[in-house]
């Protein structure tokens, strides 16, 4: 647990996107910190209401309900998020995707996703394709232009309209929504003058503002096993995806509709929680750092066959913040 002894710290939490968001705000006036934190909690809850596909009335639910039928107008923030998701898809060669189709009608039994904290059933367990891309892995293509059209999703920027072209296909932002919400939260906290905070969504995406009052950086362990990497976060976001642990096989390869197997662990560090969230998911599918991965992102991978010995051996770490990681038993940074 976070040790807040001896420092002015405020802890706030809420349940959203099927998981628990928690904020630790430190190093300032307690009233101001609490007020700033409450504003952020409302931002996160609002993001949930707009992005969930499991509650009628959200923008995403409306887009899904109109799949193959018509376009839905989105507010600027949601429209821009979908545009960036398309960019993540293109840059990751389709390894990250937010458009799915299901053998079961959307909303009528399609597997719940990371956004709701319920992993999709694995194909091994059910013998069926849990989720499959709307038309296989679509060809990566540019999203520039006034009207972006690919095979499945139309993003009409002048009208801020979104349309799924295939009936039965649906948008699921589970791979990116927590990061999106945390980025909004960080912006609001900084605007309120908060200089020391640690935020997380479901413990898989974590963002640090500054460092804790008694240290330069927040130290966050990847896992409670005493040998996994520890990240020292200062004005950095960290997202971790793993096909093991308490959510096995929750990342689906859009190309096959089956659980991704290319990496046992994948993590990203970078300035944007949304980007680390999206890319950590893509890395589990890719199993390697993509050439199109933004240079500002640090990627951390352990292949399925990687060593389980303590220390850095077997981990592939690349990017500008590689020094933010260390391994408990080899002292390596």
């Amino acid at each position: 647990m976070i040790d807040t002894t001896g420092s002015h710290a405020v802890r706030l939490a809420t349940h959203a996107m099927g998981t628990r968001f928690e904020l630790l705000l430190a190093g300032g006036d307690e009233e101001l910190l609490r007020a700033a934190g409450e504003e952020v909690i409302e931002l996160i809850e609002d993001a949930h209401r707009r992005l969930t596909r499991f509650e009628r009335g959200s923008v995403v639910s409306e887009i899904n309900a109109a799949a193959g039928v018509g376009a839905v107008r989105a507010d600027n923030e949601v429209f821009d998020l979908l545009s960036r998701c398309e960019r993540y898809r293109v840059d990751s060669g389709g390894a990250f995707d937010v458009v799915f189709s299901s053998p079961v009608a959307n909303g009528g039994g399609a597997e719940r996703s990371e956004a709701e904290g319920v992993p999709p059933r694995s194909s091994a367990a059910t013998g069926e394709d849990p989720l499959r891309p709307a038309s296989g892995r679509p060809p990566p293509q540019s999203v520039t232009g006034e009207e972006n059209v690919n095979q499945r999703l139309v993003l009409d920027r002048p009208r801020r309209q979104v349309m799924l072209l295939q009936g039965g296909s649906f948008v699921d932002l589970g791979g990116v929504a927590k990061g999106f919400a945390l980025d909004l939260a960080v912006g609001a906290l900084r605007a309120a003058g908060v200089g020391s905070a640690l935020l997380h969504g479901g413990s898989s995406t974590i963002v640090a503002i500054g460092g804790p009052p008694d240290a330069d950086a927040w130290s966050v362990a990847f896992a409670d096993d005493g040998r996994s990497p520890v990240a020292r976060l200062r004005d950095l976001a960290l997202s971790v995806s793993s096909q093991r642990g308490d959510r096995p096989d929750h990342v689906i390869d859009p190309a096959t509709g089956r659980p991704a197997r290319a990496a046992a662990w994948a993590a990203c560090l970078g300035p944007s929680a949304e980007a680390t969230d999206a890319w950590s998911t893509a890395l589990v599918v890719l199993g390697r750092r993509s050439d199109a991965c933004p240079t500002g992102l640090t990627t951390v991978l352990r292949p399925p066959s990687g060593t389980t010995l303590p220390g850095r051996a077997g981990w592939d770490v690349r990017g500008p913040d590689a020094n933010a990681l260390h391994w408990p038993h080899d002292g390596e940074t």
């Binding site: 647990m1 976070i2 040790d3 939490a13 349940h15 628990r20 928690e22 009233e31 101001l32 609490r34 007020a35 700033a36 409450e38 504003e39 409302e42 609002d46 209401r49 707009r50 509650e55 009628r56 009335g57 923008v59 639910s61 409306e62 309900a65 109109a66 107008r73 989105a74 507010d75 600027n76 923030e77 801020r160 609001a188 605007a191 309120a192 003058g193 640690l198 997380h200 479901g202 413990s203 898989s204 974590i206 804790p212 008694d214 240290a215 950086a217 927040w218 130290s219 966050v220 362990a221 990847f222 896992a223 409670d224 520890v230 971790v240």
Partner: protein, 409 residues
């Protein structure tokens, strides 16, 4: 160094309540206007930003301008509405002939002047509730609304909310029979503060904690819920007793963070109202308990609990039964026969949109298509005045009369 394990954060909790859901007949595409209209939003705090988000879901609406005198809030509001003109003075909106309607979501004590100016400028006006912080200002707003050729609607949602409309038909159909008692509550664990880094900005943003202009929990929250009972009963309380205190936020504030009120009616049936900033348990609800059944309303959901000896009325056959501890309820569904035939009975549970969107849609339909607004200025005045008087009772820890004249413009 502070050492944290990611998994240590994770604490699971779950809870689900169930009972009788009152479900309206709704579908996608319901939110559209016959005629387009350009809207301006004044006040970009939480409610103003929520209005911006909801307007984007009403087809035919375009957001022409957003306004806030606070630069940071203006910037935050503009992020969701980049195509809209961002202004720091509402006059720029009133002078803009392309804008047909304005939504006012400023602090309560600033409503009057803005409403009067907007109506004088020929705009349709949606004004957040409570309508004002004084009875005098409420009356001035009603006078301005009566004298305007445009639509004025206060931001009270019950009369626009399909769940509340449906439940009211049951209430009025004698399903509840003789009214025994009424309860309403709103609970949210929050400080009610907005972060501000200098005293002037703090005072401007934290007006709800300023005893000179705030009407407290009874006024800011209670007003919305008191209107539910006005809507259902067509009667109004004649007195209110109240008390309050600081249960959690002992930060020097004078405005109570927890209150209890009893609103008395001439026939003896009381409404007990509780609100708190110290706990979230229970959320927001209204309860009308009768000799045959009780109706509980929670904005997006509604339930009916029938007494065992209540007569069967026929619609129960379509029930979606749910359990609240020892009470089993029956789901009431508008269009239940059709939905049951389609096997879609459960899909109607809960509203697809927020009550705010229904309120805004009603306002914009009245503005573009003519007709009366869903909630009138007079109804807004009555709910607000009861809220103001309840706040007065809480502050004085006393009982105050609500004279009939107070509820007239």
């Amino acid at each position: 160094m502070t050492e944290i394990d990611r998994r240590d954060f994770l604490v699971q909790s779950a809870g689900a309540l169930a009972a009788v859901a009152i479900m309206p007949r709704l579908g996608f595409g319901a939110m559209s206007l016959a005629e387009p209209i350009n809207v301006g939003v004044i006040g970009l705090g939480r409610q103003g930003r929520a209005i911006i988000a909801e307007l984007s879901g009403i087809e035919g609406t375009s957001l022409g301008a957003v306004c806030d005198s606070d630069e940071r809030r203006l910037a935050a509001g503009s992020r969701r509405a980049r195509d809209a003109k961002a202004v720091g003075d509402a006059r720029a909106i009133f002078d803009d002939a392309s804008i047909g309607a304005v939504c006012i979501a400023t602090p309560t004590h600033l409503h009057r002047e803005l409403v009067e100016q907007a109506l004088q400028a020929g705009k349709h006006v949606y004004c957040e509730a409570p309508m004002a912080h004084t009875i005098e200002d409420c009356r001035a707003i009603v006078r301005a609304a009566r004298g305007a050729a445009t639509v004025f609607q206060p931001g009270l949602f019950a009369r626009s909310d399909p769940v509340y409309q449906l439940a009211r038909t049951f209430f009025r159909s004698d399903a509840v029979r003789d009214l025994v008692s009424m309860n309403a509550s709103r609970a949210k664990k929050t400080s009610w503060r907005t972060p501000a880094d200098d005293p002037a900005r703090d005072r401007a943003l934290n007006w709800r904690l300023d005893p000179e202009v705030s009407i407290g929990l009874a006024g800011e929250w209670g007003t919305h819920q008191f209107d539910v009972f006005h809507y259902y009963l067509d009667r109004f309380p004649v007195e209110v007793s109240g008390r309050g205190g600081i249960r959690l936020h002992d930060d020097g504030r004078e405005i109570a963070d927890t209150i209890d009120c009893v609103l008395g009616y001439e026939d003896g049936a009381d409404l007990v109202y509780q609100a708190t900033l110290a706990s979230s348990y229970g959320g927001m609800f209204e309860l009308l308990r009768g000799t045959n059944a009780a109706i509980k309303l929670a904005w997006s959901h509604g339930w009916m609990f029938k007494e065992a000896d209540a007569p069967t009325q026929g619609w129960e056959v379509y029930a979606n039964r749910q359990q609240f501890h020892n009470d089993e309820g029956i789901t009431l569904i508008a269009g239940a026969t059709k939905l049951a035939e389609q096997g879609k009975l459960k899909e109607g549970v809960g509203l697809p949109y927020t009550p705010l969107r229904y309120g805004l849609a009603d306002f914009l339909k009245a503005a573009t298509e003519g007709g009366s607004p869903a909630t009138s200025a007079e109804e807004g005045l009555r709910a607000t005045v009861v809220g103001i008087m309840a706040d007065k009772a809480v502050r004085g820890r006393t009982t105050v009369a609500i004279e009939p004249d107070m509820l007239r413009a």
